[in-house]
Symmetry: C2
């Protein structure tokens, strides 16, 4: 019998989550049955979408119930196996959530065999990287010479979007908060970088996009989107991947109601806005892993991780991420 220590949802947050919305508990796991494995979590991914799962509202995926463990992608090690093809010591990508151990059906696991560090299976080589790849290439369709703008650009999705855009011959403009992140975007090879916290953010964006914007990869919403919209070119594409600036909002912002202006721009510029979740494009995943691995090896894609030790620090890391305090992909190192 193995115990798991896990962080469960204790209450539904109003606005920014607090420690009161979470509870840590230790419970006994069942023994693995046929087709199942017992896992020890090594890395847990923290991602903005998890904030939506905490709401009691129809979101783009099932909500987490009160008392249930918080969900999340994980890299785990097999401790015991009752499933063909899985042996103790194997490392797998799964969805065990915020806990130290789990029993899972082997059918839902992906055996990892990669040159890059294991944590990248949750970042540049995992869901965030694939979100960038699929959203940009399938929906954004950047053409050589076009301008691609992405916000939250030092995050795992945004940094991949910009670097893939450059691989495809487009001009990449990143938006991030603060001079340190802006400097990092230039290190990554972005053609221009803009600080959304600067007083002259709108002027910076204009200067960085002299030919307008052909693809805006939407991660944040809010004031960034308001500044981007007037710069969109005719036939521009806007893959809508996330809206993190509003995830903690408790009410709609004050007026005026800008929906008619938004719809007017969509009409006048023949824009395409397209919401998506990466699983829609799951059939592209093998190709993504091949291409992204190669780009990393060739130095064409760099990545940055923001790794915190210990599951007990997950709540603080999560709250910080929603504030933009992280710098790179947020990963919790749960165990060696």
């Amino acid at each position: 019998m193995t115990d798991t220590t896990r962080i469960v949802l204790a209450g539904r947050p109003t606005g920014e989550p607090t420690h009161d919305d979470f509870r840590t508990e230790t419970v006994a796991l069942p023994e693995p049955r046929d087709g199942e494995v017992l896992l020890k979590t090594r890395y847990l991914s923290l991602d903005p979408y998890m904030r939506g799962r905490m709401n009691d509202a129809k979101s783009y995926a099932a909500q987490v119930e009160i008392g249930d463990p918080m969900v999340g992608g994980t890299v785990s090690e097999v401790l015991e196996s009752r499933a063909d093809g899985f042996a103790p010591g194997d490392v797998v990508l799964g969805y065990a959530g915020w806990q130290t151990h789990s029993v899972e059906k082997a059918a839902g696991l992906f055996k990892l065999d990669q040159k890059q560090p294991l944590s990248t299976a949750l970042g540049v080589l995992g869901m965030p990287g694939f979100t960038a790849y699929a959203g940009l290439l399938i929906l954004g369709k950047p053409q050589p010479g076009e301008t691609v703008v992405v916000a939250a650009a030092t995050g795992p999705v945004g940094s991949a979007v910009g670097q893939i855009a450059r691989i495809k011959g487009a001009r990449a403009v990143g938006i991030a908060g603060g001079p340190e992140k802006v400097a990092y975007l230039k290190e990554l090879g972005f053609d221009a970088a803009v600080d959304h916290r600067a007083d002259d953010f709108v002027a910076q964006l204009e200067a960085a996009t002299p030919d307008g914007i052909d693809v805006y990869f939407e991660n944040v919403g809010g004031k960034v989107w308001d500044a981007v919209l007037p710069r969109m070119n005719e036939f521009g594409r806007v893959p809508v991947c996330g809206l993190v600036s509003g995830y903690n909002a408790t009410a709609l912002p004050e007026g005026p109601n800008r929906v008619p202006a938004l719809m007017g721009a969509v009409l006048q510029k023949s824009l395409t806005l397209r919401g998506f979740i990466q699983r829609e494009f799951a059939d592209q995943m093998p190709q993504f892993r091949r291409e992204m691995s190669q780009w990393i090896e060739e130095g064409k894609v760099q990545y940055r991780e923001d790794i915190t030790d210990g599951l007990e620090n997950a709540v603080d890391a999560f709250i910080g991420m929603l504030r933009g305090a992280n710098f790179g992909k947020v990963v919790i190192k749960v165990a060696e």
Copy 2:
């Protein structure tokens, strides 16, 4: 030397246009040169997009300058020809605008040879019908059994959208203003019809779309769009063709600002919003004319025209159209 009587833009309207924004004048036309023809206007099309051309603002097409004739599609008869292939008596589709005569390059004209009345070249067989066809089929992509909703549904675009949706096996729901128009939609074979002027409009829409909405063909914006959005299904498509409810607006509506709610719905439901103007799909025009002609002959597509006699009544007809006072495609019969 031939004179033309024409209606020119006298001022840029604030809100709803008035007679003061137009001026009628009679001027001498130049003689046609090589490659040109002298035309007598028989029918003039009035369409909501013309309101946008009256503004001093970047719209989706060039604005009309003060003192210039109002633009518009026309069916005309050739009076004199200095162009190969055009002879007096020929009837052509052109873009002569709000005037009784014009001299035009023959290269921009389309010789009409159709079984249906000439006025239909401005409606069901013309730009509005093609807008419906291309927007619905190329962008909306209705599948058999899906629900297609269209507003301004008795208008030339909306009525074609609903009928083409039914031809493709989808369920067609029309939104229109007033019981007479709602009754007409049922005559046209719409599966359901909803009155946006009714107090229980939102409840009517819910009842009419028990399986949600897969395609919303956007002609109007405003409160209709607000009511439609919560009914959109996952992967729904929204071709954005017009926003007539806002064309006379002088300011954005009061708050709250609903943009975050709109973007949230786009994200959560993987919606596609796509603005368009029919000319993007001009290569489909020949196929449209073949198919639409056949559908009309087979009785699968019906149409309704709202024809007013005399160019001198164009301003009143135009103002009324923007209020939704027309019933069917608005056409001015300029001459026999």
